[in-house]
């Protein structure tokens, strides 16, 4: 009889199913996973250290490049923390615009999340379809913010520019088309025998373990944790819309996939409510002139506005001494910023509470007991972006 041996397999860091530069050290007993040890840090750019030498406005583009699938929510979490520190208010229209952008970001991120998860399991056509629909989100970003992926659109006190005329109609056209596409995905995957075999019961993590591992977002809601910051601690315009939070209790990859599918439908509902309710008015709070940049056209013909702009950009915003933690419901979980200010225009310390980093840690619990071929399915079901894990 052959001696039983544990084989150590190195996966990555460059491997198509690891969603970036993630290295896994997998111990195998035959085809069965005994343990998974992730090795991260290949994309570490030191964003936290870098931000200590930048001014508050200069940090904003860095936050885009963390979770590059959902820059709209990274920016929002950062800007909310800065506004809390500065103590400035936001006009209602700006709150709605930001919420709209955050919800489109959620659809965008979930589309790539489910697309690549399905692609890893062999359903490559699903990946192509979701990339096709994602283009609709990117076009809406493009026309409003000028950037397709890196928005950098929010400013302390509001947003950089108003929505273009006709944006609401284009968003409505997207929202009319999109749910039909989601139904198509359902016909493709929901009862597909191969998909069920690859997802049901895979990557099991119980509710207790999910709590202990600090899971948030769809990964936690797939394990029966009924928590959504949009509903529980509403920010921006979320207290003016009705939100249903999908929760599944099967604790496996399939329930996490269903949470994401339901959340996209829910985002469509939220977006419909938002465009029905969006008020008129200023898109940035010009009353808080100490911290808010003047409108760009005015900078070109008014001396005072030019001086004001120059002063704010060169000297930076100096908040009072203090420390704030502000978090929002990102597409992948709770994304928060903990900013300590010493009264200078630079953050004394900026800590990002990463959602993917915390969620990925649970793969050490989800992985053992599954087959090696299921490991890509588990990674896909956590929906990680290495840019945010390593920062």
């Amino acid at each position: 009889m052959a001696k039983q041996e544990i084989m150590t397999l190195n996966v990555g860091p460059h491997h198509p199913s690891t969603h970036g530069v993630l290295r896994l050290i997998v111990e195998l007993d035959g085809e069965r996973v005994v343990s998974i040890t992730p090795d991260i840090g290949y994309l570490h750019r030191g964003i936290e250290k870098l931000s200590e030498s930048k001014k508050f406005l200069q940090v904003l583009p860095l936050t885009d490049r963390m979770d590059y699938m959902s820059s709209g929510t990274n920016n929002l979490a950062y800007i909310l923390a800065v506004e809390k520190l500065l103590g400035i208010e936001v006009p209602p229209r700006a709150r709605f615009i930001r919420t709209i952008m955050a919800e489109i970001t959620r659809i965008n991120s979930h589309l790539l999340g489910i697309g690549s998860a399905a692609g890893d399991c062999g359903a490559v056509s699903m990946l192509l379809y979701s990339l096709r629909e994602r283009e609709g989100c990117l076009d809406l970003f493009d026309e409003t913010t000028g950037g397709r992926m890196m928005l950098t659109y929010y400013r302390p006190g509001g947003v950089a520019n108003d929505l273009l005329p006709g944006f609401e109609n284009r968003l409505k056209a997207f929202l009319d088309k999109f749910p039909k596409k989601l139904d198509e995905y359902d016909t493709l995957l929901k009862n597909n025998r191969i998909w069920l075999k690859r997802q049901v019961g895979i990557g099991y993590i119980s509710r207790e373990d999910a709590l202990s591992y600090g899971l948030t977002g769809p990964t936690a809601r797939g394990s029966g944790i009924d928590r959504d910051i949009r509903r529980d601690e509403p920010y921006e315009a979320y207290d003016e819309v009705e939100i249903n939070v999908p929760v599944y209790t099967d604790c496996d990859a399939y329930s996490r996939w269903r949470v994401r599918m339901d959340e996209m439908r829910e985002s469509v509902n939220i977006l419909r409510q938002l465009i029905a309710k969006i008020p008129d008015g200023p898109y940035i709070n010009h009353e808080a002139a100490k911290y808010v940049l003047p409108e760009k056209p005015r900078v070109k013909d008014s001396m005072e506005a030019l001086i004001h702009h120059f002063k704010l950009v060169v000297e930076g915003l100096a908040p009072p001494r203090g420390e704030v933690y502000s978090s929002i419901e990102g597409p992948k979980g709770e994304i928060g910023f903990y900013i300590v200010s010493d009264g200078t225009p630079h953050p004394y310390r900026m800590r990002v509470r990463p959602s993917c980093f915390v969620n990925l840690q649970a793969i050490q619990k989800m992985g053992p007991g599954n087959m090696m071929a299921d490991v890509p399915a588990i990674i896909g079901s956590i929906d990680i972006v290495l840019g945010e894990i390593d920062r």
Binding site: I40, G41, H44, G46, E48, K49, L50, E52, S53, K84, L85, G87, E89, V90, P91, P92, D209, L211, S212, Y213, G214, T216, I225, R227, D232, E233, P234, Y235, N285, G322, E323, V324, Y325, S327, E334, G336, Y338, V340, Y348, R349, R351, R353, F357, V358, Q361, K365, D390, R391
Partner: protein, 169 residues
């Protein structure tokens, strides 16, 4: 256009009114050195020898039930003699939807007890603090660097570490 910064369930002005602070004050084993409130966020300062007991109390008291460890991080204050670091724990309660920040001041090189037995999520969060600040966690099951390579010298988020690094790449 009024904004209530405080989105959580606690909305008092006095930090002593926060149920978590009140519970820590009631328990003789967890002396609270200091409490502060800024923009509605309550933070309590606890000395390192009482930190584990305080966090256990906050997690296990059924009236509080701070069951989610949101974040563990640290802040470096080099000019604060004898307490160069603050280790900051962010806690959240699913039941009461409240948050509390627990800060533990530490001297350079001083150990703090790991909270991995309480929350598994602390495993990587504490490894990152160790990697970035060089704070050792006693009882951590796997104390290694996490984002920097194992042969890296220094701890990047300390204030004396230069932003541009020490070596030319």
């Amino acid at each position: 256009m009024t904004v209530n910064w405080n989105r959580q369930n606690f909305s008092g002005e006095d930090p002593e009114q926060h149920p978590a602070v009140a519970a820590l004050r009631r328990n003789p084993g967890t002396p609270v050195k200091e409490v502060a409130i800024f923009r509605g966020e309550v933070s309590a300062v606890i000395s390192p020898e009482h930190s584990t007991e305080a966090l256990t109390l906050l997690r296990d008291d059924p009236a509080l039930a701070f069951d989610l460890l949101v974040d563990v991080t640290a802040v470096h204050w080099p000019e604060r003699e004898g307490a160069e670091f603050d280790v900051v724990y962010q806690l959240y309660s699913h039941g009461s939807r409240m948050r509390i920040k627990v800060k533990v001041p530490l001297a350079d090189g001083q150990e703090i007890r790991s909270v991995v037995p309480l929350w598994a999520t602390a495993g990587w969060l504490e490894r990152e603090v160790y990697d970035m600040f060089g704070i050792p966690f006693a009882g951590h099951p796997d104390q290694r660097r996490i984002v920097n390579p194992p042969n890296f010298e220094g701890h990047p988020l300390r204030k004396e570490f230069p932003v541009q690094g020490r070596v030319r790449w």
